[in-house]
């Protein structure tokens, strides 16, 4: 069980939230101009890191707002939660930083 800090409501039990995968994916602005591989990568390719992961959560049983979570997938430690549009904070989670692994998504802003 995790405690997650909703950026608006405050710290709540994980069971109030729903998880929605990797954050900061950008839909290619001109889909017709990307090839199948790029479009497929946008739709399906995810980092799945062992380490820090920026991901989307929604406060489903609370304020029903979307926000971002910076979580270490190795130990579920949550380093930060932040609102859409805000920049993820800089965090040093030690070695094997997942944010640097497997970034094969053309739509992913660096």
């Amino acid at each position: 069980m995790l405690l997650i800090k909703c950026p608006w409501c405050g710290t709540r039990d994980m069971s109030e939230f729903s998880y929605h995968g990797e954050a900061h994916l950008l839909r290619p602005p001109a889909p017709a101009e990307v090839d199948d591989a790029q479009w497929g990568a946008y739709l399906f390719a995810r980092k799945n890191p062992k380490g820090l992961h920026r991901e989307r959560w929604m406060h489903a049983h609370g304020c029903r707002r979307w926000f971002n979570v910076l979580r270490d997938t190795r130990d579920d430690r949550i380093y930060a939660t932040y609102r859409p549009g805000d920049s993820p904070p800089d965090v040093d989670a030690g070695d094997d930083n997942g944010e640097n692994n497997g970034d094969n998504n053309p739509g992913n802003p660096t």
Binding site: C9, S15, E16, H61, C63
Partner: protein, 217 residues
């Protein structure tokens, strides 16, 4: 082709009956009591609290300021209107049923210049009242919130879940809709308002009634 201007040709709509699934239920009595509160008017309001003109116009329309702090409730001077903070741009207004239509018009008039939404949701929810000795313990069996008065004091509200149902919880500073029971005991005074969607009412009621029974002395 249907002639929409010919109102004579239209069937008379049925008279609205604000009766939720709990209307047929007998209140649970005992140390911890459960009943449905009589139906009040409910309006969902959306708008930008960062826009002072919006918040001022909303206050003019309501006769009271919107609560801007998370998990708080504002009430008017007479205590008949409650405004719950639901989210960073969303509020829920509880008001006497017969004032709902006029209040809705007031809001729409005052807020016309602003990006907003005022939606009547009277029939979308019903409010249950749980009170008595074990009220907080009963809720804790299905709700992950810390309901200790230090964390969730009278006057606070929160959206959370009870079992699998989304609920809005509110611990009234004072609730003038009571009067069925005379509480002489301070330990007996815990009261919670549980607002739930109509379609979840049976589920929440059965869950609460079962826990009330299990925790009875």
């Amino acid at each position: 082709m249907v002639d929409f201007d010919n109102t004579d040709a239209m069937p008379t709509p049925p008279t609205p009956t604000p009766t939720s699934p709990a209307a047929a239920r007998a209140p649970v009595d005992g140390e911890t009591r459960l009943r449905e509160l009589s139906c009040c008017g409910k309006i969902n309001l959306r708008g930008d609290p960062g826009d002072e003109n919006f918040t001022r116009a909303a206050a003019d329309a309501l006769g009271m300021a919107l609560p801007l702090a998370p998990n708080t409730v504002a009430t008017d001077a007479r205590g008949t209107v409650l405004v719950f903070w639901l989210g960073p741009d969303e509020w829920l207004i509880h008001l006497p049923l017969n004032d709902t239509e006029s209040q809705l018009q007031q809001l729409r008039q005052h807020l016309a210049p602003f990006h907003h939404a005022a939606t009547e949701v009277t029939d979308y929810y019903t409010a249950l009242e749980l009170r008595g000795k074990h009220a907080a313990d009963v809720l804790a069996r299905g709700c992950p919130l810390d309901l200790h008065p230090r964390v969730f004091p009278p006057g606070a509200c929160a959206q959370s879940r009870f079992g699998n149902a989304s609920v809005l919880l509110y611990q009234p500073a004072q609730l003038d809709d009571g009067g069925d029971h005379d509480d002489g005991n301070a330990n007996d005074s815990a009261r919670f308002l549980i607002q739930v969607r109509w379609s979840f009412t049976d589920y929440v009621w059965d869950y609460l009634a079962t826990v009330i029974d299990a925790l009875a002395d």
